[in-house]
């Protein structure tokens, strides 16, 4: 059903048409009544008196709980891979820690100790970041929320429930049968029956309610032989934290601290080189608070104390006289719900540990990569000034692999997870929690969930029997994990008799078939033309039946691309669609000796370009690569034909 039709028909028609309109359902439209009468509680109208909760049942293939960056990635990937999906998010906006409610920077792998330094994640997270610059060069966080919203709701097969919390589960032995979610804005309980459940909610209330094994706290050194771990295990997790954004008023402005502000012990704090006020634009990550008992149970108390500390620090900055640069600066925005770094970590068939990251353990089930440093924040945060704000234990020489077995529950058979709540040790989480990494995991979990639903297997079965297929699908969808080139038997480009380009300034056309869709350190995998209006041609000896050509183009993965609260931090970035990226192209097939255009793309915004068309029988494909978003030549990494 077309979107407009949906609005015309209204919720009733859409829901009646089979619960799920094909186009992303509009979540709040849950009333199925066309009754226009005045409600009068005296009359005892059903639904007004007694139990006011509305009840609905949804049947889907995959239910994703939590609409942070990992949940978005999971839901969209599952939907794109053919599953009927519902995404349940308890806040009015998507994005989790990255949303306008918290404004955490969408970081990815950087500061590697190799020539690349930055190794940007590809797949869903990269699509989102590019799209953000297209719609939101003004770097507005509320607009970013809606960029995410647009990205999610345009996905067919995906229904989004905002303002909806997962409350309880119904089990069938070791399987989740359904999850009940309450949408507060509509006073409606949704019972969601699904084949697969993905908990991407960070805290993992659904998974915990299902009885999934989890840990919270720090492992001791001995358990996983982690040299940076504390000697003895304890309950500390990394802390919650508020962000802020300020504005320059152009003249001195006073600041009056609220009554509950806790005075800041600047002298002790500044002894640590990390606790510094290097800018007055966007908050301080070291103003954080954690717990060694139950960070979830204490969250609201932590929120209050954190606000008190935050204002104490700001009071110091504004009123101590030590920060003249803050004289004209006023607070413009401060978060009200703390961003969360760590709580439950659910246990999978594998627990990724410090040594795997540092030693780059090679897994036969790699599904994502990471490479942020082991950035373990101090237990206690701002209330523990004796320890450094973070232990930057170690950086990485190369990106490491994350295995699939970290993404599904050891004891609940149809439960997957992605994001900061996956099966890693506390020490490994100090690196894997970075949003780019979380999002790649989300893409893997969503893709896996869709495959499980389709094949009727559980995630462990998928690992045992279909791991290669999962990896191939992820690589096809522009994920990447090191040392695992794609080799999809369905890809007909692999069988070409010849591939050549109209010109070559670097690399080689045949590198587009080598299964690696980015340049690796000292290993190129690209072809680059001399100029624009170039052509790439593939030719088979025998005719092929084709329905799509899929290509991966350059977006410069060694340049950062995220939005910042402090525009100063955009230096070296490009605010806009990467100029290297292809803008316009067309695909032609040679049919009976004539070149026939079978598809084209205009104003392309994605690295992965899939051009689908009605089946053609052909012996040659020609791609006309017309122009980029600014670069003077065309660079690409892969071409596939299906």
């Amino acid at each position: 059903m077309k979107r407009r039709n949906f609005f015309k028909t209204g919720a009733k028609g859409a829901l009646a048409a089979g619960l799920f309109p094909i186009m992303g359902d509009i979540t709040a439209q849950t009333s199925s009544s066309s009754d226009k009468r005045l409600f009068n509680w005296n009359e005892g109208v059903e639904g007004i008196k007694g139990d006011p909760i509305r009840r609905k049942t949804l049947n889907v293939d995959v239910a994703v709980i939590g609409g942070g960056m990992s949940g978005i990635s999971a839901a969209v990937s599952a939907a794109r891979n053919g599953a009927k999906v519902v995404l349940v998010q308890d806040r009015p906006v998507l994005g989790g820690n990255a949303s306008s409610e918290m404004r955490v920077t969408v970081n990815g792998v950087s500061s590697l100790q190799n020539k690349h330094k930055v190794e940007r994640e590809t797949g869903i997270v990269e699509e989102l970041l590019i799209e953000n610059w297209h719609y939101n060069p003004q770097e507005s966080y509320p607009v970013w929320d809606h960029v995410l919203y647009n990205y999610v709701i345009r996905e067919k097969n995906l229904t989004l429930l905002l303002n909806t919390s997962a409350l309880s589960v119904e089990m069938n032995d070791d399987k989740i049968k359904s999850v009940v979610c309450r949408q507060l804005t509509t006073e409606t309980d949704f019972t969601i029956n699904a084949a697969m459940f993905c908990d991407c909610s960070g805290d993992g209330f659904m998974a915990a309610s299902a009885g999934a094994e989890f840990r919270m706290g720090r492992e001791g050194k001995a358990e996983f032989n982690e040299k940076f771990a504390p000697d003895e295990p304890d309950g500390w997790v990394m802390g919650d934290c508020f962000m802020m954004i300020t504005k320059d008023m152009g003249k001195p402005v006073p600041f009056y601290a609220p009554d509950y502000a806790i005075p800041f012990d600047a002298e002790t704090a500044f002894k640590d080189k990390h606790r510094k006020v290097k800018q007055v634009k966007e908050g301080f990550w070291w103003v954080e608070l954690s717990s060694k008992v139950d960070i979830i149970g204490e969250r609201d108390e932590i929120r209050h104390r954190l606000m008190a500390h935050f204002y104490g620090v700001w009071d110091h900055i504004k009123n101590s006289g030590d920060f003249p640069e803050a004289e004209n600066i006023a607070l413009d925005w401060i978060g009200s719900i703390p961003g969360r770094r760590e709580s439950r970590r659910f246990m999978g068939d594998y627990i990724l540990k410090e040594g795997d990251l540092l030693g780059n353990t090679q897994f036969n089930d790699a599904i994502a990569f990471g490479g942020w440093s082991l950035d373990e924040h101090c237990p206690g945060g701002i209330e523990n000034l004796k320890e450094p704000a973070s232990y930057f234990h170690s950086r990485f020489n190369e990106v490491y692999q994350v295995p699939f077995r970290c993404l599904y529950s050891r004891n609940i058979s149809n439960l997957l997870f992605a994001g900061r709540n996956v099966s890693v040790t506390h020490m490994a989480l100090s690196s894997t929690r970075i949003i780019g990494t979380c999002s790649m995991m989300g893409q893997a979990a969503g893709t896996a969930a869709a495959m499980c639903a389709e094949k009727g297997v559980n995630p462990r079965g998928l690992y045992q029997k279909h791991m290669n297929e999962l990896q191939e699908q992820l690589l096809r969808d522009d994920s990447y994990f090191p040392y695992r080139p794609a080799n999809d038997p369905k890809d007909k480009a692999k069988k070409v008799a010849t591939i050549f380009a109209s010109s070559t300034s670097s690399g080689e056309a045949k590198l587009l078939l080598d299964g690696v869709s980015r340049d690796e350190v000292d290993k190129i995998h690209h072809w680059q033309s001399e100029g624009l209006n170039e052509e790439l041609q593939l030719e088979w000896s025998k005719p092929q039946n084709l329905t799509s050509v899929e290509m991966k183009f350059d977006t410069n993965l060694q340049r950062k691309m995220m939005m910042h609260k402090d525009p100063e931090k955009n230096k070296g970035q490009i605010i806009g669609i990467p100029p290297e990226l292809i803008k316009n192209l067309s695909v032609e097939a040679r049919i009976k000796g004539d070149w026939v255009e079978v598809g084209k793309v205009e104003y392309n915004k994605t690295r992965l370009v899939k051009v689908n068309f009605n089946e053609v029988k052909t012996t040659a494909i020609r791609v006309k690569l017309k122009e980029t978003h600014g670069a003077e030549s065309i660079k690409m990494f892969e071409i596939r034909c299906y």
């Binding site: 908050g283 070291w286 440093s373 950035d375 973070s390 109209s502 025998k542 000796g593």
Partner: protein, 377 residues
């Protein structure tokens, strides 16, 4: 750039030996001062700076060397001491060396002085065309390097400069960065163009014959820049290009900028004598060219079909004929034998021929081909 005048000024004792030549006589060593405008990535928005580039011409009036005085550190908020440095280039715009005034020293972070080996290392950094400084940004250098590349605080450390010890003078990254970008970049083109102005026919021939690709490229580029199309020079360019793919792009560009007579004849020669890449580039050039060829040109080209070996060459040739010379009897008769070539080629030829006017015999051959390969078409 138009301000050429004789330089009377002398900066360094090392120039002493030139002093006798400091008059304006053309038979002596001469220095010409060029006022130039050049960008530096260390300036805000790659901002341009005015500067004076000195060209040194030998007794024959040929540019042999260039130099320019620059500041050792480019920076808004100066972190370290700024001293003048003189940078030297050869006449191809290639960096040669740097010199300091007597008694002048370079400084590192926190007022440490350069050690002897630091000067040596600086020279090797500046000589390296692919030095990491090529892609480093000034803000990465100005960010104090510390460990923090924490999440919320990502930038200070995440983009802070990370270089291998061998690639930089520790503590003097800003100096390395500043000087590297003075030594390389737009200045190279500026120098080449000045140097090109002093070249005569014989000089061009010598450069083209030098067997040194850099010199050859310089010659072709300057011929193009100055629109010189003397027969003997064109022939030399073709000769050299057919034996070196590295000249191809610049040479074809040079021909494309000439008139149609020169262009078509040069391209034909490349097709006659060139290797596969040279033929591909030539055919692509013809395909895109809007110049009008001499009569019968494409028919003559078809005589070169036997020179074309690879599938890509043949398919380009067929495209060319389709768009510029359809229904030519010569072309058709040259192509018929290719029906016996390997499948990729013969198939393409088959489709081409199918759209041409053929005689009975040719039709027959086409039918034979079709019968044999119909399930591979």
């Amino acid at each position: 750039m138009n301000f050429n005048k004789i330089l009377i000024l002398l900066f360094f004792p090392i120039w002493f030996f030139f002093q006798n030549g400091e008059d304006s006589s053309f038979s002596k060593i001469k220095k010409i001062e060029h006022q130039i405008t050049v960008g530096h990535p260390g300036n805000e928005d790659n901002g341009l700076e005015q500067s004076i580039l000195v060209e040194v011409r030998n007794k024959k009036g040929l540019a042999v060397e260039f130099y320019m005085n620059v500041e050792s550190v480019i920076c808004v908020k100066s972190v370290c001491k700024v001293v003048p440095v003189r940078i030297y280039w050869n006449n191809l715009g290639g960096y040669q060396k740097y010199e300091l005034d007597k008694g002048v020293t370079l400084e590192k972070y926190e007022a440490d002085l350069f050690e002897k080996e630091d000067y040596v290392k600086l020279q090797s950094i500046l000589s390296d065309l692919d030095s990491p400084f090529k892609n480093v940004r000034i803000d990465e250098i100005l960010t104090v390097v510390d460990e923090t590349h924490n999440d919320a605080d990502a930038v200070s450390g995440a983009t802070a400069l990370e270089l291998d010890e061998e690639d930089t003078v520790p503590g003097a990254a800003l100096t390395c960065f500043t000087l590297w970008h003075w030594a390389h970049g737009d200045i190279e083109t500026i120098i080449r163009n000045f140097a090109g102005e002093s070249l005569k026919k014989q000089n061009f021939l010598k450069l083209l014959n030098s067997k040194n690709v850099d010199k050859q490229l310089f010659a072709v580029e300057q011929l193009d820049e100055r629109k010189i199309y003397k027969k003997i020079l064109i022939e030399e360019v073709i000769k050299q290009t057919t034996s070196n793919n590295k000249l191809l792009k610049t040479a074809v560009n040079y021909f494309e900028n000439s008139d149609s007579k020169i262009y078509f004849s040069a391209i034909k020669k490349l097709l006659q004598k060139g290797n596969e890449s040279q033929k591909i580039v030539s055919l692509n050039s013809l395909l895109k060219s809007e110049l009008v060829p001499p009569k019968g040109y494409y028919n003559e080209l078809s005589l070169l079909i036997s020179n074309l070996k690879s599938y890509q060459e043949i398919s380009l040739f067929l495209r060319l004929m389709k768009s510029k010379n359809p229904n030519s009897l010569e072309v058709v008769s040259q192509l018929i034998p290719l029906l016996k070539s390997d499948l990729l080629i013969s198939r393409n030829v088959y489709w081409f021929l199918k759209k041409q006017q053929l005689n009975k015999n040719q039709e027959q051959q086409l039918n034979i081909f079709y019968k044999e390969y119909q399930d591979q078409l």
